[in-house]
Each structure stands twice: as C-alpha cells, then as structure tokens.
C-alpha cells in the first residue's frame, strides 16, 4: 500500500508540476521562430568562468536573434547534471568531458557535444600548499594528502599526470575529496597538505593566506587540455535538431568574443557568480574555443584510458555534433 502511495505521490506531483510548467513555457509553439521545434531551452550551468559565453550570448542578444530563450539552471554536480539531462529536466548542460566520457562508457545515455566550452591554459588548475609548508616541489608530495574536487574526476586525472611527470604515482599520495570552497579551510587547518584548485580560489588563497603554488597541472600531456563542452543527448538532438543548431550558432559567436575580449568575460562574471568585479579582473582565465576539434577531444579519452579511467578505447567522433552551415 505504501508503494502505491508513493507512485501516486509521484503522479500527483508530476501532474502538478506539468501544469505549472505548461503555464511558463508559453511560446514553445510560437510562430515566426525560424522553424525551431521549441524556443525555450533549459541549460544546466555552474556559476564558474567556463560558461561566460552563455551570458555574453544572452547579453548581446545572440540567442534572441535565433529566436531562442535560454534559461540557465545551476546543476551543482555532475552526479545530478547527467541524470537531469537524461530525464529532460535540462535540454543542454555544461558537461565536463571527463564525466561525459565516463557516463558514455557506462551507457548512461548517448551523449552529444554541441560546442566546446572551456579549455585549460597555464595556471588555471594548480596545486598549492600553505605558506610555511615544507613541501617545495611535486616530489615532496610523496605520502601527503591532496584535496581534489572529487574522486575519479578531471582533478584526479590532472594530479595523476603531474605526479607521473615527476616520477611519482597515484599510490604515493592520498586524495581527499573536497569541494573547491571547502578546500582552503582544509588546507589551512592541516587536514590536507596540498590542494588542487582553480579560479577564483587559486587567486583567493594566494592573496588571503599566502598559499604557494608548487605545480601547474595543465602542462605536458595536459597542456591546453579540453575541460568542458555544451552537452546534450542523442534523443534530444534528434527531437530538436533545428533548435540545437540555433544554439550552436549563437554560442559559437559568443565563444569567439569570450576568447578574444577578456573585458567581455569580466563584465558578465559578477552577474551570474559571486566573483567580485575586482577578483574578476585579476583571475586567470582559460580559453574559450570556437571550434569543436575531434583530435583535441580525443586526447581526453586517450589520457583517461592511459590512467585507467576508461576501460576501453573510445572514439569520440560520433559524440561530436558538427557546426551547422
């Protein structure tokens, strides 16, 4: 009886919410929209610099020009972003390649990358230690605790690669999962010996607690490493091909601006994150690629395989959606 009760709740709630949504998405079948299958797209984002181009595109009316309304929705973690994408709760999400490829291998869904979003540059992902730490170089990390954003992630891959380049291996350190905002506290209190961080935390800890950089993890095998792409699923893409093409055209225009005009990024950052305008002007930004290059994305799959994060060789080509003409 409880079980039927539960099913009913879900049914009732679903009905309620569907009616609620029906009210909101008024113009899904509006005319004069370039033949788009739908005009409102829910896009999963994180409040980080990676997605700056989405806000530039909105600010400059690129989506509007395509007849699109983009509704950003924060998806706090990949563990939730991918289920939300699969259930259709969001149409497109910021997908970090590491997680998307892992989920693809696990057959959670058939993913499609619409456009490249963010690419590493020097000093966007560094390992830092406390000011007075005896650790001077990567070699000194042997037997130490390093915080990473989560296990089995781009963070562990990046640190693995840096360790190997310095003659150590993953077994020589202990990974401590800690969300970026929690990592500085763990480092300061001595719960960890080193932290793998990105912006704005990197600039923050160097300024606030005098933390010292010991390595840039995006070097060697990971130089200019692709970080994330705008990701959807195959069923969503075949259901809304024109809408997705319109999204691609608009976002790529904004990616070009984000990549060439730092001021444009600095301007939108404080609008959707809590990064202050002062911090926005000094943090190190990655690159915003405007082409989706198969050779580049293949590097992610190959490196993941090399470090055991993928079980088999994966051809990324079928996952990449060509730019519409």
């Amino acid at each position: 009886m409880r079980l039927t009760g539960r099913t009913t709740v879900i049914g009732v709630i679903a009905a309620l919410t569907l009616t609620a949504c029906g009210g909101a998405d008024t113009d899904t079948t509006a005319t004069g929209n370039n033949g788009l299958e739908k005009t409102t797209l829910k896009v999963g984002i994180l409040p980080i610099a990676d997605v700056a181009a989405l806000y530039i595109a909105t600010e400059r009316g690129f989506f509007k020009a395509e007849g699109l309304t983009v509704k950003p929705e924060i998806v706090a973690s990949t563990q939730v972003a991918i289920p939300k994408l699969v259930s259709g709760s969001v149409d497109i999400t910021l997908g970090n390649y590491f997680s998307v490829l892992s989920a693809q291998e696990a057959k959670m869904a058939n993913f499609r990358v619409l456009a490249d979003t963010f690419q590493a540059k020097p000093d966007v992902f560094d390992i830092v230690v406390k000011k007075d730490s005896p650790i001077q170089s990567v070699k000194d990390l042997k037997g130490k605790k390093i915080s990473v954003a989560s296990f089995n992630s781009i963070g562990t891959l990046a640190v693995d690669s840096t360790l190997r380049a310095n003659g150590l291996s993953t077994k020589d350190v202990t990974y401590v999962p800690a969300a970026f905002p929690d990592a500085p506290g763990k480092l300061a209190s001595g719960q960890t010996d080193a932290a793998w961080l990105t912006e704005p935390f990197l600039t923050g800890v160097q300024k606030d607690m005098g933390a010292r950089k010991i390595a840039d993890t995006m070097t060697g095998a990971m130089a200019d490493f692709p970080i994330a792409g705008w990701t959807t699923t195959e069923p969503t893409l075949s259901k809304y091909p024109k809408t997705m093409a319109a999204f691609q055209r608009a976002i790529v225009k904004a990616q070009q601006i984000a990549d060439s005009d730092r001021k444009a990024v600095e301007k939108v950052l404080p609008t959707y994150t809590k990064i202050t305008p002062d911090a926005a002007s000094i943090i190190t930004l990655g690159a915003y690629p405007s082409t989706l290059n198969a050779t580049r994305i293949q590097r992610v799959a190959d490196l993941m395989l090399e470090y055991g994060y993928l079980k088999a060789k994966m051809d990324v080509n079928p996952l990449l959606v060509p730019m519409p003409q």
Binding site: A14, A76, K84, S89, F180, P184, G185
Partner: protein, 257 residues
C-alpha cells in the same frame, strides 16, 4: 513568562556570537577561512535587501510548502488508516521501518533521472522525508485515544465513522500537528540540501552554491543564517498553533506554557 524565555534564548545566542567574534578577533579562528560573526551577520542583514536572494528564499519556501503540504495530505490519511487497522499496521510496520531511515538526499540522483523537472525532483524528495514524522505521529495519536471515550460513544449507539470524527480524530490531532511541526523542519533541511546538491533555477541552497563558487564564504554563511532563521520562525509559529489549538491537550499532558 514567554518574555523571559525569549530573553534567555536571546542571551544564549548572544553568548555564542560573542564567543565566535572573540575567537576571530584574537586569531583563534582564521578569519580568511571562518569570517567574523559580525561580518556574517552584516552579510545576512544585507541579503534582506538583495532582490536576487529574496527570489531564492521564495523558491525554497515554495518547494518546502508544496512538499510539506503533499506529505501531510498523504501521511495523515495513511496514518489514520493504519492506526485504526492494527493488523494492517503490523503487516506494514517492517516496510515503514525499512523505508524511513533511507536518507532522501541519497535518492536525489535517482529521482533526478525520473523527474522531468527540477521542482518535481525536489518536491518528491521532500515528500519522501517529510511524510514519516507525520505518518508515525498520526499512528501513535490514534493509539493514544482514550478507550473509555470510544466505548461510551459506542454504547450510545454511534457508528464507527462518528466515533472516528468525534473522538478519535480530535484526540489524535495534537499528535498530528506535532508530526507536521517535526516534518516542517525536516522538509526545510531536505529542500536546502537538494538545492545544494542538485542546484536549480533558484533557492537558498542555490545561492550558497553560487556564493561558494565565487569563494565568498561570508555570503555562504550569511545565507545559512537565513535558513536557520526561517526554520526558527516556522517552528515557533507551529508551536504557537499547537498551544493555541490544543490548549486542553497541553494542560492534560502537563506541558507548561
């Protein structure tokens, strides 16, 4: 009497805040990691004028209220049914005790996979967590009905429904309301946890995620203060409702004002 209770409560809070402030100012706590209590409180006060944050608060309150309402609508009839059918209760008790401790936050990825919208996902996990206190309290409430009162009604020829409406339900009502009060806090915790873990278009938890990603620990804590205050207000209102509506029960149970 109430005034002195409030004063004592406020004194407790003040001591805690002063201790935190002193710890920060004397360097016992690193203020880069744990901002001063005064900084956090000033931030919390500032949020009252932040329209973006107020929108987040209303989003949280909305899913919270929707979840709590659905949980109540569901769990009260279920509790009445189980409470009046002892054999059904015996049969279902193990299932309830098995499902009850499952943390609903752990169900988020699963529910996100099924729910077609973010709000649905949140309300579902809130309902899951909030229905247990209401259900269990309703069941206990039904057990606690004075058998003499029920028998007296029956002797006078009242049917089962009349006994239920005139004796059982009024007698169980205080327990139900206590269940709802407990569920209200649980629902708030789950609503904000779901926002922290899953995000969404808005919510106090979503604000905390945004503040965290900008390395603004002061704002994360300021928003947390709001979550606590909302919980405090909701609880106080429901306690008042309990006292006002069921004065007779409080008197019988020996609860002082």
């Amino acid at each position: 009497m109430i005034l002195s209770r409030v004063a004592r409560g406020a004194a407790g809070v003040a001591v805690l805040l002063v201790a935190a402030e002193v710890a920060g100012r004397t360097g016992l706590l690193d203020t880069q990691i744990m901002p001063l209590a005064s900084t956090v409180l000033a931030g919390a006060a500032g949020l009252a004028a932040d329209s973006e944050f107020l929108h987040d608060v209303s989003a949280t309150v909305e899913v919270w209220a929707e979840g709590l309402l659905l949980a109540t609508l569901l769990a009260v009839p279920a509790g009445v049914l189980l409470g009046s059918l002892p054999r059904a209760e015996t049969a279902l008790r193990p299932v309830i005790e098995f499902l009850r401790p499952i943390p609903s936050v752990a169900l988020i990825p699963l529910v996100a996979l099924i729910a077609a919208a973010d709000g649905t996902m949140k309300v579902t996990v809130i309902v899951y967590a909030a229905c247990w206190p209401v259900l269990v309290n309703t069941m206990y409430g039904l057990h606690d009905v004075d058998p003499v009162a029920k028998d007296t009604m029956r002797v006078f020829g009242f049917g089962r429904l009349a006994v239920l409406l005139r004796v059982t339900l009024p007698s169980a009502a205080p327990f139900v309301l206590t269940g709802v009060r407990l569920a209200a806090s649980v629902a708030l915790v789950v609503a904000i946890s779901a926002e922290l873990l899953a995000g969404g278009e808005g919510g106090i938890g979503v604000y905390i995620v945004r503040a965290g990603s900008g390395y603004r620990i002061d704002l994360m804590l300021a928003a947390t203060v709001w979550a606590g205050l909302i919980g405090l207000v909701v609880n106080a209102l429901l306690v008042r409702a309990e006292r006002g509506l069921f004065r007779w029960h409080a008197a019988r149970a020996g609860v002082t004002q």
